[in-house]
Amino acid sequence: MIIDTLTSPVILFFLLGFFAAFAKSDLSIPEAFGKAMSIYLMVAIGLKGGVEVMNAGFSIDLLNAALAGLSLSFLLPVPAFFALIYFGKLKPVDAGAVAAHYGSVSVVTFVTAKELLTNQGLEPAGYMVAVLAIMETPAIISGLLLIRFGNKGKSTEKSNNNIKKLLHEVFTNASVILLIGAFIIGMVAGKSGFEPIKPLFEVGFKGVLCLFLLDMGLVAGRRLVQSNKLSLRLVMIGICLPIFNGTFGAIIGLGIGLDAGSAIALSILGASASYIAVPAAMRLAAPEADPGIYLTMSLGVTFPFNIIIGISLYTYIVQILG
């Protein structure tokens, strides 16, 4: 499967971006274009997930997967936090911020995996999109609690009104609104209502994904090139943590009885790290944490690892365990 992955245009565009960054090319994707593609991708997968769930009908699996995702997002930051402190030598505030990223998810990793899995007849169930949305933000809360725990005794002012702000952020974060909103619209519209808008959201999907991964490659590559924050220990964590989280996700997914495709998807959600919702929230809620660390680990190390190797690896793990 790794070979399939490496010759898929989606991955090749990522590598092209990566290469351009390392070659210090002046290639750049306008910010507005990148954001537009990101909005498009979230709406498209939300819609398709909603339509599929409406078609398949609700099932107990959906509920199980949602609960599993919620728990994973809350819990995965905990081991990450301690690994980052004791092995990674980070300050508590940085460790908590990084940990939150690994509890949350990467939409593009999920989407890329979905494309690659579908090609192999392992398409995840439609409701996994809802799980994706559910997993976006709870990790932010865990991360901040871990920071407070790590800093105990120090600066606890401004905590009260912050909790209100935080819950607001968790529920109204742009990614959450887009994914859940489009998911519900997909459910309400159903297959027939989706028909007229399907061309835009289905015909163009894989092409847009290619262009977006070109952008991701550029951004991830530049992060790596420009970073001076990345110790060897952090790089190791950036590779081992997704393997650990992915295996954990696989076990949970199989444990609650998901089909192979959905279990792989849950594994990938566990393994992936956020690079949009969480960084923005962390910058605001934990401004002392260094974005140079969490963005570089998430975008520069874990994202490429997951895209190039991880997806195949988690598929393999589920197939071994399943």
Binding site: Q226, N228, P279, P287
Partner: protein, 103 residues
Amino acid sequence: MVETVIRKRIEILVDTPLIPHIIDLLKKVDMSGWSVIHVDSGGGRDGEWSDDDFTGASAKSIILVIASEEKTNNLVDLIAPILDSHRLLLTVANVAVVRGHKF
């Protein structure tokens, strides 16, 4: 000739996601007007960056405020402690404005 008075022109270079937090501080010292300007790229001790980064987390902006000297002093006192931890850059200059009572 129209009469002008001297007011302060404050520039705060700030990570874009932190803007709401700084606006809250402005309001605390009773400043009611501000403008936000986008910063495209830059360099500092942390290396170079540019805004063609869809994550938005590393984008920077300048908050521009025209205010009276008194309010400005209050703001500087309020912001000084977090200048380092929040990676802010704060400058204050004199400018002449027409009808200064607004600031």
